[in-house]
Symmetry: C2
Subunit: 310 residues, 2 copies
C-alpha cells in the first residue's frame, strides 16, 4: 500500500506561541498525513479533506502542543498525536451531523460532508479519518514505542463506547429529567475525553510524573467543561453565520444551561477557566520560564468568546 | 475509564485444529474484549455484541491462528489480533448493511444492526467496535511492543481509504464497464486486505523472514480472491435462509461472475484454492510436522461450499 509517512517538518520557531502560526503548522501537517485529493478513490479523499482541512479552531492539537512545551518536551514529538486527535475530532463531526443524528446542514461555514458528498461517502470518510488517526499515532516519528502504544490505547478508549461513542449515544437518547451531574458526565465523554487524551499523550511523551499527570488531567477536565458550556451558550445565543454551523440543535437536549439557566452556566464557565489557569500554575513554568498552557487558554478562549462580546 | 483487559486464557489444547473448538475459543475471547451488555450505555453495548458475537465463520481470526501455528508461534500470542480483525470485520458488516449502503435487513440469520437498534446506534456501534479493535491490538498480551505497533499500522491501512473504505466506495460507485482487473482490485481492497492483515500480523509475531512473509502474502491473496468469488457465487445462487443474510444485493454490482460468467468464475475459484494450498506447502510444515494453513483452508472452504453441493 501507498506509503504516506514523512518526517515531521522542522517548521517550528523555538517555543512559538502564536495560535495562527501554530494552526498553520498543524494544518500543513494534517494535509500531508491524509492521502491527496487526487489519489484514488478521489471523491472519498476529497470528502476526508473537506472536513479535516476546513478552517477550524484546532483546539485539541493546540492543547497537545501547549502541554508538551510546558513540560519541556519537543513540540515535534507530539505534533502527529495532535493531528491524530484532530482527525478523530473531524471524524466525529461527520458522524454527529449525519441525518440519523443531528441532521445538520452546515459545519465550519460549508455544507456538511453528507450534504456535499452523500451519506454513504460521509460514513466512509469518517471511518477513513478515524482509521488513519490510529495509524498516525502508531507511527509518530521520534517517539518511543511505548509512548506510541500508550497513545493508541488512550485514543481507543477516548473514541469507543466508554468515550465519544457512548457520550454521543446518551446525547441522542437522553434519559428524561437528567440531573446536572448526569449531563456533565455525558459532556465529559462527548467532549472532555479528547481534551484529556491530548494532555495525557503529551504527558506520556514528556515522561510526566504522577503529580504532573494529575495536574494535566485536572486541567483538561476544566478546559473540557468550560468548552462544552461555552459551546452550548454559543449554540443558544449566536447566529449560524457567526459560528459557521447549524445552531439551536441542542434546544431539545439536556445541557448545563438547561439545568442551571444561562447566568449560572456563565458563572460555572468562569470558574472552570479560573480552575484551568490555577492548575497550569501548579504545573509551573517550563525551563524557559514560560507557561504555554496559560497562553493557549487565554488566547483560545479569548477567540471563542468573541461572538459573545457586547 | 474502565479497564477491560484480561490476559488471554490458557484455553488451547496444544496445536488444536478443530474449527468449532477454535471458534469457541475465539468467541469466548471476543465476549471478554468488549464491554458487557449490561454496562452503560447498555443499548450501545448490546448492539456491538449483537453483530460481533452472532454465529459467524470467524475466518479472519482462524487464518491468523493457523498462520501463527504453522510458523511455530504461539496461538496465544495472536489470539487478540485475530479478535481485533473480527471486530473490524463486524464493524464493516454494520456499515455495509446501512440504508445508505446495501440497505440489508438480515445478516447472520438475524436482523441487521440498524434494523434492530436504529441507524444512529448502528453507526456508533460500528465505530465502537472499530476503536476497540485498535485498543485490543495495542494491548495484545505477550507480544513485543514493535509487533503490536506493526499490527496497529497494518490494521489502520487495511481499514482506511486505501483499504476497506476505499474498496467499499468503489463497490458502491462502480465505474461503468469496469474491467475484470479493476473488479479484482476492488475485491482485494474490500475483502482481501483483512486476510492479508491476518497473515502479515501473524508473520510479524512469528518473526517470519522475507521469504516466509512473501509466501504468507501470496497465500492470503489466493484465499481472499477465492473467498470473494465464492461469496459472489453464493449471493447469486443460494437462498437467503441458507446464508442467513440478504442475497442478490450484488446483482447490480461488478463482480467476477458478471465479468467471466459462472463456469469460468468457478474455475478461477478452484485455481485460487489450489494456489493457496501450494503456497502453504512452500511454507512447509511446522516443527511438529503439521500444516495448519492447509487444514484451515480445507475445513473452512469445505464448510463454505456446503450450500453449493448438489
Amino acid at each position: 500500500m501507498q506509503e504516506l509517512e514523512e518526517p515531521a517538518t522542522a517548521a517550528f520557531p523555538p517555543r512559538s506561541r502564536d495560535l495562527s502560526f501554530l494552526r498553520a503548522v498543524i494544518d500543513r501537517r494534517l494535509g500531508l498525513l491524509v492521502p491527496p485529493a487526487a489519489s484514488h478513490p478521489a471523491v472519498l479523499h476529497a470528502a476526508m479533506r473537506h472536513i479535516l482541512l476546513s478552517p477550524g479552531k484546532r483546539l485539541r492539537p493546540l492543547l497537545t502542543l501547549a502541554a508538551a512545551i510546558q513540560l519541556n518536551a519537543s513540540e515535534h514529538a507530539v505534533l502527529d498525536f495532535g493531528c491524530a486527535l484532530e482527525m478523530i475530532h473531524a471524524s466525529s463531526l461527520i458522524v454527529d451531523d449525519l441525518p440519523c443524528m443531528d441532521d445538520a446542514a452546515m459545519r465550519r461555514a460549508q455544507p456538511t460532508t453528507h450534504v456535499q458528498y452523500g451519506e454513504d461517502v460521509a460514513v466512509l470518510a469518517s471511518i477513513g479519518l478515524l482509521s488513519r488517526a490510529f495509524g498516525v499515532a502508531a507511527a509518530a516519528p521520534g517517539v518511543s514505542e511505548r509512548a506510541r502504544l500508550e497513545a493508541v490505547a488512550i485514543l481507543s478508549m477516548a473514541v469507543g463506547s466508554l468515550g465519544l461513542c457512548g457520550g454521543q449515544y446518551d446525547d441522542l437518547r437522553p434519559s428524561p429529567g437528567r440531573s446536572l451531574s448526569a449531563t456533565e458526565d455525558v459532556n465529559r465523554r462527548k467532549t472532555g475525553v479528547l481534551f484529556s487524551a491530548a494532555v495525557e499523550i503529551a504527558g506520556h511523551v514528556a515522561a510526566a510524573d504522577e503529580t504532573q499527570m494529575g495536574h494535566l488531567k485536572a486541567l483538561a477536565g476544566h478546559v473540557g467543561r468550560a468548552y462544552q458550556i461555552l459551546d452550548d451558550i454559543l449554540d443558544a445565543s449566536a447566529s449560524s453565520a457567526s459560528l459557521g454551523k447549524d445552531v439551536g440543535k441542542d434546544a431539545h437536549k439536556a445541557t448545563v444551561i438547561a439545568s442551571l439557566g444561562a447566568p449560572r452556566a456563565r458563572k460555572l464557565l468562569s470558574e472552570h477557566l479560573a480552575g484551568a489557569l490555577a492548575t497550569s500554575q501548579e504545573l509551573g513554568p517550563n525551563t524557559e520560564g514560560q507557561e504555554p498552557l496559560r497562553d493557549f487558554m487565554t488566547a483560545a478562549f479569548g477567540e471563542l468568546m468573541g461572538p459573545l462580546a457586547p
